[in-house]
């Protein structure tokens, strides 16, 4: 099997050249490079917007096709198309700041999003109980204790402050600050290193997750 960069060398070259120009623009204090980086980033933002339009166009095409092909799902597609057309008419014609657009955001979108967040809360609580039942190890025990203590320490229970648990300078808060900071910092550095290595591999055509 050919290496990824040999399967489409022209695309790999374009990726490499544009990537290097933008990357050098970040780290070298050289005016033409910075100008090209800014221009390339603007074009990429434009292309991302066009890609969004294409994605939505594809979605509309699929739902339009379903109207005639699948009568059982037609009502869902009709609701989707209705929502889309009304949003485009409201936000595009009347404007984002119009009272009707704001009313749709306040009375339709916000309640749905807040309720979905509550659904996520229930799912997370269910996952926590499953963890307690099926995968109890040292690490899951530490995880559970951290979650419980962190929730209890958030607010004084019935107005009673427990000396070692509540307050900014309590032993629990200091321990969590040190241990939590260390863990989160390690995770962040790990994620950043992973992003850099994967980015360089794709940039040089060693991997092509976006296809040929």
């Amino acid at each position: 099997m050919k290496p990824a960069f040999l399967r489409s060398p022209f695309s790999t070259l374009i990726t490499l050249l544009t990537g290097l120009i933008v990357l050098l623009g970040y780290f070298l204090d050289f005016e033409p490079l910075r100008e090209w980086r800014f221009r390339f980033l603007q074009w990429a933002i434009l292309l991302a917007a066009v890609a969004l339009f294409l994605g939505v166009f594809n979605l509309l095409r699929v739902h339009w096709g379903r109207l005639s092909e699948s009568p059982s799902k037609a009502v869902y597609s009709l609701t989707f198309l209705g929502g889309f057309v009304s949003a485009v008419l409201m936000a595009g014609w009347l404007g984002i700041q119009h009272s009707l657009t704001r009313a749709v955001v306040d009375y339709v979108i916000l309640p749905i999003e807040a309720s979905l967040f509550v659904i996520i809360l229930v799912t997370l609580l269910y996952a926590l109980t499953r963890l307690l039942q099926h995968r109890l190890s040292v690490f899951s025990f530490v995880f559970l204790v951290t979650v419980l203590l962190s929730l209890i320490a958030s607010i004084p229970l019935l107005g009673i402050e427990i000396p070692l648990l509540h307050g900014r300078d309590s032993l629990f808060s200091i321990a969590l600050r040190i241990l939590g900071t260390a863990g989160v910092r390690g995770l962040l550095i790990g994620v950043a290193l992973g992003s850099v290595v994967t980015g360089i591999r794709v940039l040089f055509g060693l991997e092509r997750p976006h296809g040929d």
Binding site: S11, T18, Y26, F53, A103, V196
Partner: protein
Amino acid sequence: MTLDVPYLDLLGSALGVLLTLLVFSYLLGDHFLVRLVFYGYIGLMAGFAVVIAFNSVLYPLLLQPLIDDPLAGWMQVAVPLLLSGLLCFKVSTRLSRIGNLSLAFLVGVSLAALIGGAIQGTLMPQLSAVISPFDLERSSVAAADRFSGLIEGFLILFGTVATLAYFHFGARPRFSGSARRLEWIEALSWVGQIFIAIALGLIFAGLLRAGFVALVERVQVLLNFVITLQQGF
């Protein structure tokens, strides 16, 4: 007949309450009405996304230059217009290869932004934060607290290294044919898992807290609506 503003407000609240109850009913199982709500919501969001993308990206970057000064505008938008046109071929299964040029450009610039952002936005600040407690001359901490600051710095450094050790997957082959990490890395990564469990526990607790806030807000909206109805608007 003209509707008064309080009636409109009540009508909107009633719609919000109905949608909240419908989404909550999803916990009992998937059904026709909740699917309608989700499809309508996705349609609305797609519509808003298209309008916002047009108003804040396509119009100012592609159309405004052409309207302001057609001749100079064409020079300015020729390349992005060509790239956008090529990207449109991605919709067709037969001609999608023509769009690879634009995709290659988009991937190159996005990756460079990702790498630059990861180095400048995460690696540098985090590494500098790990080092700063040991820089006693520049430390803004009072002299009396420097010792405790130093201990804290050591503990955080140890925890960070232990957490990173967990992601070290380099292994040496053994005579038996199996591969295993070095003993000390194995031990360090075990400690690292404790730090990771604490960090993830804190993130999880934060998510739960945010979820409880959303739950309280929804319940409050439901109660307010019932009280308003009881009081006769």
